[in-house]
Symmetry: C2
Subunit: 306 residues, 2 copies
Amino acid sequence: MTEILVSEVGPRDGLQSIKAIMPTEAKKAWIAAEAAAGVREIEVGSFVPSSLLPQMADTAELVAFARTLPGLNVVALVPNAKGAARAVEAGVHGLSIPFSMSETHSLRNVRKDHPAMLAEIAEVARIAREAGAHFAVGLSTAFGCTIEGAVSEDAVVRLAVASAEAGALEFSLSDTTGYADPAQVRRLVRKVKAAVGADKLTTLHLHNTRGLGLANALAGLEEGITTLDSSLGGLGGCPYAPGASGNLVTEDLVLMLNAMGLKTGIDLEKLLAVRSILVEALPGEPLYGFTPDAGPMMDYAERIAR
Amino acid sequence: MTEILVSEVGPRDGLQSIKAIMPTEAKKAWIAAEAAAGVREIEVGSFVPSSLLPQMADTAELVAFARTLPGLNVVALVPNAKGAARAVEAGVHGLSIPFSMSETHSLRNVRKDHPAMLAEIAEVARIAREAGAHFAVGLSTAFGCTIEGAVSEDAVVRLAVASAEAGALEFSLSDTTGYADPAQVRRLVRKVKAAVGADKLTTLHLHNTRGLGLANALAGLEEGITTLDSSLGGLGGCPYAPGASGNLVTEDLVLMLNAMGLKTGIDLEKLLAVRSILVEALPGEPLYGFTPDAGPMMDYAERIAR
């Protein structure tokens, strides 16, 4: 049986793009409930200056809390070396830095061009290595950019290789803007795996902006992807990419993977119940997903027992 | 370049499940606008008694109208031989009969068990053959039933073979209930192709009840499926399968196929404009789809030129 890791990024990617600030206790309840439902990895927040993203001010506290949950891999996003130092101090198991393949997006998002980002990646890699933390580079806007348009696949490969030379041990391909199509996913996963090593590209971070999220996930699985980022209720998006709203919906993703006979370790019924925490803590915030309304198929139990 | 036929079923499957009756002139405008956008096949209605489905009372008039549109394949659904006779009299290019793989669903839907349906299929095949019309059997509830639950794959294969022996020349696999998952799609398409001949199973009819519609479509394409049914705005569903709402959304499907470099012949911009006909003629009716809100990717033109 193939095991697939569903990495919940809602507490980071979901929350960072909405206005309302979720109380820390509600975030803890969310994280604990997902872990209890069998989710094995959660990105609990990002170590950005809280002046920029007040939503993320409690990330260190959430890391400490999440570390008490047995079997949970606790990860956080860092924009730079300063954030990485805070992340390892807080005790993350792993950290990742987004590296925008679109230089225009990078300049607008973190005010760094590609050479400056590669220098930052080298420094973050050093900090992670010394702390014994897992470290990944998120190749963001890899499937296209809302400012530049098409992003060259050769450029993505070149920047992935440059990141590896700077010390990156693992990568994810990130469809920040919801531009990916399944043929492109297969092509780009193959190319990047060929360039940096098949075992170093494990993860896809997909958005569902045009409804193609799960089809893109399927294309990735067929190319050997084993980790998929998603967000409960499809909450969130990229605040710097206008129109790009909503990660893969964790509920629909888990239904699909479990029904296919892939092993996520996640109990769908328990997962669906977690949604009420979001509804209560974020009143009026739009949530997405089809499975929460339709429920699993009548023969769901038979499917997952295959 | 692989050509994929997007078969618009909204005027039949979409409209049959909603309460409001769309005026005939609006239906004609819809059909003409989709044909002008490059849609090459439209299921314009079904030949059921208008006492049962008043929405479909104008199907013969729509067939006659649609036949005037150059290059359009005009198809209709028939529940039985009586409907088939009306369909060929109206001048359809093709007709299809739904054959529910769940006998309980069949009894509840058309009050016929499997042997009675096979007799009906033989009669419809004869009528179509004599008229020179194309004829397909839609293997409905093939991926599961909201009443029976799991539907045995062996039963689907057996009933497909029996239909072929009764004179069916072509098949579609129909996820009437929105139960399909991508692994099941691949398995069942392979099994049915192996049993009836690869060239005889060309079509998938999918619903998006649990958000898996496009992923299922992708799985089908990878198994050699070349025709996909869909409905503009995801309108409709199956009135006899509670909870099963909404076909594949034509707009999102066309975006996916075109962006992947598959050839549908459909102009997405023109297709998106057709939606306004539904909005105007069916006020308050929920429409679905992500592409209508997000629009195509900025580099869409480059993708389709690949």
